[in-house]
């Protein structure tokens, strides 16, 4: 198991390195695009261009430029925004990351709990009216766009019923966990629920399918012949084996969300997270910030995948040898 974790970590580092090279090449070495012109802004004079070029090492060979960029990005951490001169990239990301992480982790817990309850209940109650009703609720959740659901939630909690039952809901925004945990949770409650609604349905569906499939397996018949209760068969045998595909799906979604896919929810609820930072920098074509965000996103996607693989091996002994 330890060797497995070691090998998996080494692979993750390699992937991250590759991604950083690719991202660098795409942003700073695409033929026909002069990054210096982007940095210096529109209509810059040749002297400024030359200065920028030297400052960013753009007149050096590509491998050295890559090294310089990484040095600025990770070691000196003094890479600054091209658009808002003086805004350092890394602190911006470090500032935005906790917001996104808070949002996504909280939502993930909620949606996984919901998915487990819904999926297991639905599989156990198969053949009764309960099952299609749960699945329908799930589909509704999946089908509603985040920005719409978020806006509707805001409409009710922030304006329509704000003086009534939702008077306890704080204004939009983010309060750091370290400042005030209660306010942190309160501010994030509706964003969590909104984001979780999108995923709970899909996960419930996947889990239900997996459980039903597992219940047809021979080992479940053996478990029944052993005299186990239906509850134990469901939880310890069918559900346990159904976790394996759900975990791999979860890793992908979680990584992508932390990497910035929670954008819509962040924007709707005014949360200054990584998604919002990315979209803002994209609008300004702020290359260092984009690159920082992409690297950050890649880091989480790769990390999430590595964690999933380790979890996978923990869940499925057959995967450990691979």
């Amino acid at each position: 198991m330890l060797t497995f974790i070691g090998r998996r970590t080494a692979a993750a580092v390699l992937v991250l390195f590759t991604i950083s090279v690719l991202v660098f090449l795409i942003f700073f070495a695409t033929p026909g695009v002069d990054p210096a012109a982007r940095i210096a802004g529109r209509n810059a004079d040749p002297a400024t261009l030359a200065q920028v070029r030297h400052e960013f090492g753009l007149d050096r060979p590509i491998p050295i430029r890559y090294g310089l960029m990484m040095q600025h990005l990770f070691i000196a951490r003094d890479l600054s925004s091209f658009v808002n001169r003086g805004d350092l990239v890394i602190p911006q990301i470090l500032h935005a990351a906790p917001v996104t992480l808070s949002l996504v982790i909280g939502a993930a817990i909620i949606w996984m709990v919901l998915a487990f309850l819904m999926g297991t209940a639905s599989a156990a109650k198969r053949g009764t009216a309960f099952d299609p009703v749960i699945m329908l609720v799930g589909v509704v959740g999946v089908s509603i766009p985040a920005y719409w659901l978020g806006e509707v939630v805001n409409l009710f909690t922030q304006s329509r019923w704000h003086s009534g039952i939702f008077s306890w809901v704080p204004p939009l925004g983010y309060v750091p966990l370290s400042t005030n945990p209660a306010q942190w949770a309160l501010h994030l409650l509706f964003p969590w629920l909104t984001l979780a609604a999108l995923y709970a349905g899909i996960y419930a569906r996947v889990l239900r399918g997996e459980i039903l499939e597992a219940l047809n397996e021979d080992y479940v018949r053996t478990a029944r012949a052993k005299g186990l209760t239906e509850r134990r068969i469901m939880v310890r045998h069918a559900l346990r084996c159904s976790l394996i595909p759900v975990v791999s799906l979860f890793g992908l979604d979680f990584g992508a969300l932390v990497g910035g896919s929670a954008l819509l929810t962040e924007v709707v609820f005014g949360l200054p997270g990584v998604g919002k930072l990315t979209i803002d920098s994209l609008q300004n074509l702020d290359l260092p910030v984009i690159m920082g965000c992409v690297m950050y996103a890649a880091f989480f996607v790769v990390l999430a995948n590595a964690v999933v693989d380790v979890l996978y091996a923990a869940l499925d002994p057959r995967a450990r040898r691979a």
Binding site: A225, K226, C241
Partner: protein, 365 residues
Amino acid sequence: MPDAAVPPAGDALLEVRDLTVSFRTRRGLVTAVDGLSFSLGRRDVLGIVGESGSGKSVSMMSLLKLIRDPNARIEGEARFEGRDLIAMRDKEIRALRGREIAMIFQDPMTAMTPVYTVGWQIAEQIRTHESVGRRAAHERAIQLLDEVGIPDPGRRVNDYPHEFSGGMRQRAVIAMALANNPSLLIADEPTTALDVTTQAQILALMRRLRVDHGSSIILITHDMGVVFDIADNVLVMYAGRAAEQGPKHDVFHRPRHPYTWGLLSSVPRPRAERVSRLPTIPGSPPSPLSIAPGCPFAPRCRLRHDKCDERPELAGGIVHVDACWLPRDRRQELRRSLIEKAVSEGDPGDLSEPTDSLSGSDSAR
């Protein structure tokens, strides 16, 4: 005299009477097991033989209520130590499963949950029915694995099922089944998925366990050789009904039903007269949707006659009974003539139509 089918019940462990299992389907009511009766004494081994689809597994699964299909209907009576299994509530039968009656299934490859160690699963079996500690159960699991012949059980007990070979897995499954000393072990084709050497080892193991644990065994198989090896009594099933049943030696030495003849002659015999091809039973078993109202075997029988349109009851003796209309005193003669014909013509496959009785539709299937 249908009652002759059931030998007088003394201290029979299991007494099944008129077991009928049917399924409601879109195409009508399908009867998978039709009026099966048998009795099993303590420490007896009953071999149930028949082709695929003859209702062997379904009948045994229905005894333990392991058929989960809501469209299944199980009727009849199955007295296990005096208590009717069919009438039991789920909770009562669950207490019996694994403790009094253990069942093992055909494919050892998929019979164990892949994510738990073999020892964990055996311990789970023990702890389900007995209040023993985790460690004690683990120790018992090691003992059991040792007993079924797993080398180095102290180490292998912590292996996962995928780290065991097929034969070892079947041993482990048997160890699990025996964990609570059941008085009845139902083995559904336990050797079918294994190679011949492993098969022989597993059979030897079961024979030994019967002595050591004093369990009765019901062995489902389609292999006459396996039955001959281990069974005391034989029940030959065809299309959900008993075709012939009786003590092993009677059934093997004086088989009475043409279907049993077919099964027996399809076993290669190294010392018998040479035939170029092994005899076969023409056609294939009927679909449970279209079983003939008379004798179900009639469409494939070489000795079919008018009487076969009527359903034969089990009859012909106290312990050895068969369901066939052929005159009982001439059976051996008829069988010999069939075999001679097969040998002289050299191509037993062609024997399929000694009379013009085979309907085209059935043999074509």
